[in-house]
């Protein structure tokens, strides 16, 4: 704030000398800016402080103990205050009522005295004054002597005034007539016995007082008698009562709070114990039990908890047992099926080798037999593999290798198929080694499945394999320019036994489980396997794996969509091909336009990409429209962050 005047100073300078304006001017907005920024900062701090306070309050208000204590304290305070007010009112009212009752008796006596003393008094002011004085003394004396009755009323000051107008000044004999309120005098002069509270001053102190008045008629004249009762004693009593109530109330509220805290602790402590037990149980200590003791409710809690723990333990044991059985079964089926299959396989191969000696129909039968045996074998292998995944017994045996060797090996394995369909495989690999911790057998299988799939759907056009890596993550894309995927199919390709187009002739006779197994293989690595495609333009599969075993993936170094940009969506496969090939030179790094696309194609929380699993339908694979950035549209992923994932 101190900088504010500095902002104002340039203006007189500027008026004095025009040249001075130039250096002065820039400071003005600068100062403003600094003030602004400070304000913003302060505001930010205040907001942060508020948030922190709020969160702290939120934390405390969520503690049962604190809640009970605070609630007891506030509720008992409310009760105490209400009760205190009512009590005080009752006591005050009672005190005043008894005072009034006593005062009424006293005023009767006084009137009687006045009537007796002043009856037959003549109208001579002097004798009247004497008689008045006498009556006053009489009232005061009576007051002093007959103690029992008067002690209730306490001390009072009598006032006697003749009702005749104009005689007040003459007749008031050293009387505190001024202390009698005018209203009361008006009521009494109309012939009523009445009282009123007022404040009188004695010895320079304001004291509440009760004034009672009554008309007194003698045969000759009429008077007004007033008695002024100072209420100092009653006020003192009320103050004592107030103090007592306050101290008692506070003490009681504190005591209640303490008691409630104690009681709450009795409840909270076992709850905390139960929570600790539950935590241990959740951490895998299945033998954890709560001690069954204490009050009956806690006993119930403990025994219910223990019952639950036991049920969980039994369930888990059963599942473990089931898993073990499943594993045994898988293993046994594997062996039991494979052994006879081996014999059949060998016999069939012997027949196949000698088929030239057979008549034609037997030779053809032998060929069919061998072909179908191949299919049967791969189906059996895949089924066993996927059942191993289903039984949760798939294990990752990671080793450190150069992923390029994996790619070369799987391309070599796919080469015969590629030759058969006259499909060229183009690789875009970094020149340096890309070392990663991987299960080579599984990565090989993924790549082989992707390659077979791409070759099968390539329609004779080239298949591209590209590898890119950053320090944490590596990505491999397998792209074909064949039939592509229709909208929605990107999510279905990983489903078991899913076929893109039942009417299409299958070349390779895959088992229909390859991509499903590949997806599981990728997941086992903590990786993604995603698909995207455009009908008639081809499909791209992207495998993204962490380079460290157990690493997390947040992005992929390669784009999922083959076109890579909106402009590419209109390109024909033939045009798209050369475009991709141009990337070869810069193969070590992803092309710039791909980097731009990463934020959009990174699957965050499953928002921009759908999860693929056999159970979950995946995102629509819409081809990007003209001018619409493409990458988010058709991405379907296995991204781990998605809550649907597991």
């Amino acid at each position: 704030m101190s900088t504010e005047p500095a902002a104002a100073t340039p203006s007189p300078d500027a008026a004095a000398a025009g040249s001075a304006q130039a250096p002065a001017d820039p400071t003005a907005p600068q100062t403003h800016r600094s003030v602004d920024s400070r304000l913003t900062r302060l505001r930010g701090q205040a907001r942060r402080g508020l948030t922190a306070a709020r969160s702290r309050i939120a934390f405390w208000s969520r503690s049962l103990l604190v809640r009970v204590v605070v609630l007891t304290l506030s509720l008992s305070a409310v009760v105490m205050i209400t009760l205190g007010l009512i009590l005080q009112q009752q006591i005050t009212a009672g005190l005043l009522q008894s005072k009034i009752d006593a005062a009424t008796v006293e005023i009767d006596n006084a009137r009687q005295t006045v009537q007796n003393s002043l009856s037959g008094a003549d109208s001579d002011p002097n004798s009247l004054r004497e008689q008045l004085q006498l009556a006053l003394t009489e009232i005061g004396r009576v007051d002093g002597s007959s103690g029992a009755q008067n002690s209730t009323a306490g001390v009072f000051e009598p006032v006697i005034v003749p009702s005749r107008i104009g005689s007040d000044a003459d007749l008031a004999v050293a009387q505190p007539l001024a202390d009698v309120p005018a209203e009361l005098r008006a009521r009494v002069s109309q012939g009523n016995v009445s009282y009123q509270y007022t404040t009188i001053r004695r010895d320079g102190q304001a004291i509440p007082a009760l004034v009672v008045g009554s008309p007194a008629r003698t045969s000759t004249d009429s008077f007004e008698v007033y008695l002024i009762f100072p209420l100092a004693g009653e006020q003192g009593t009320v103050q004592v009562v107030q103090r007592t109530l306050l101290v008692g109330g506070v003490a009681l509220a504190i005591a209640l709070t303490g008691i409630s805290a104690l009681v709450a602790m009795q409840v909270v402590r076992p709850v905390r114990r139960a929570a600790a037990s539950a935590r241990k149980l959740a951490a895998g200590d299945l033998a954890e039990r709560m001690p069954v003791k204490g009050p009956i409710e806690l006993e119930t809690l403990a025994s219910s908890f223990n019952g639950m723990a036991e049920a969980i333990r039994v369930q888990i044991r059963q599942l473990e047992e089931f898993g073990k059985l499943q594993r045994r079964f898988t293993s046994d089926v594997s062996h039991e099926l494979r052994t006879p299959l081996t014999t059949v396989r060998m016999a069939a191969d012997m027949l196949y080798d000698g088929r030239s000696d057979f008549p034609e129909y037997l030779g053809r039968s032998t060929e069919l037999l061998v072909d179908e045996l191949d299919r049967f074998e791969s189906l059996l292998t895949d089924l066993l593999e996927i059942s191993r995944y289903d039984a949760g017994m798939a294990e990752l045996s990671a080793e450190t290798i150069d992923i390029r060797s994996c790619i070369h090996a799987s391309i070599a394995a796919a080469a015969p198929l590629a030759d058969q369909f006259d499909v060229q495989i183009v690789t875009v690999l970094p020149e340096h080694a890309v070392v990663a911790e991987l299960d080579t057998r599984r990565v090989d299988r993924i790549l082989r499945n992707l390659l077979n799939n791409a070759i099968d759907h390539a329609d004779g056009k080239p298949v591209e394999v590209e590898l890119a890596a950053d320090p944490d993550v590596l990505a491999i894309t397998v792209t074909d320019h064949g039939v592509g995927l229709r909208p929605g199919e990107a999510g279905l390709v990983f489903n078991r036994f899913w076929r893109a187009d039942p009417s299409r002739q299958r070349h390779t006779g895959g088992t229909g489980l390859g991509l499903a197994i590949s997806l599981e293989d990728a997941r086992l690595h903590g990786g993604w396997l995603q698909a995207s495609g455009t009908p008639g333009e081809g499909a791209r599969f992207r495998l993204t794996l962490p380079r460290q075993h157990g690493g997390l993936i947040t992005h992929s170094p390669l784009a999922l969509r083959a076109d890579g940009s909106a402009a590419g969506s209109g390109a024909t496969p033939d045009e798209a091909g050369p475009v991709r090939m141009m990337v070869d030179d810069g193969a070590l790094k992803p092309a710039p336009h791909e980097e731009e696309l990463h934020p959009a194609s990174v699957p965050v929380g499953g928002a921009t990409a759908a999860l693929i699993s056999p159970e979950v339908p995946a995102a629509e694979d819409e081809p990007a429209g003209p001018g619409v950035p493409g990458p988010t549209g058709g991405a379907a992923s296995t991204d781990a962050p998605s809550p649907v994932a597991r």
């Binding site: 293993s331 594997s334 062996h335 494979r338 052994t339 006879p340 299959l341 081996t342 014999t343 059949v344 396989r345 060998m346 016999a347 191969d349 012997m350 074998e377 292998t381 066993l384 593999e385 191993r388 017994m393 294990e395 045996s397 080793e399 450190t400 290798i401 150069d402 060797s405 090996a409 070599a412 394995a413 080694a433 070392v435 080579t440 057998r441 090989d444």
Partner: protein, 225 residues
Amino acid sequence: MKARVLVVDDDPALAEMLTIVLRGEGFDTAVVRDGSKAVDAFRDVHPDLVLLDLMLPGVSGLDVCKEIRAESGIPIIMLTAKTDTVDVVLGLESGADDYVMKPFKPKELTARIRARLRRADVGSAERLRVADVDIDVPGHQVTRDGEPISLTPLEFDLLVALARKPRQVFTREVLLEKVWGYRHAADTRLVNVHVQRLRSKIEKDPEHPEVVVTVRGVGYRAGAA
């Protein structure tokens, strides 16, 4: 002279089929159907190679493998229906040189058998030295400070392959081709397990190998002479 193959398999059909195939390929065969008699049969038959089914009644194939290996360095090929890494590695660790996964094709099996029976050409009086280990290639002798170290033929081949090109780093795939005779990339676990076995015999401290050195992310090479 015909090479003799001992087939240890409890499944009669498969054993017979194996016999037919192997005889057709020019091998002499003997069949044992009972695992507990396998070791006795091995002593009687003096085979050139053992074809061993891992799942045998009575005795575990792994135990048979260990017993035979304890007596001889003769090539052992396991037949296994188990594809799990653990099972394969266990088989290899108990002494098998190679394995064939059921179901296999007859040609695949005979190729594996021939690869195991074919020994590396021995140069005349070739002597190699890796770290402090001397290798007498024609004599099939490995010594350290004159003390002979007993290796199986496969382990010997592996060591010689590495020792012949001391500065070259061999990938697992290359070793698979050179030592096991696989043309296409196969199971690299074969290499890993056998390197471990070789190290356990020739290294002073297998935890810190000096003879067969791992090149991280690439493969293995021979230690400096």
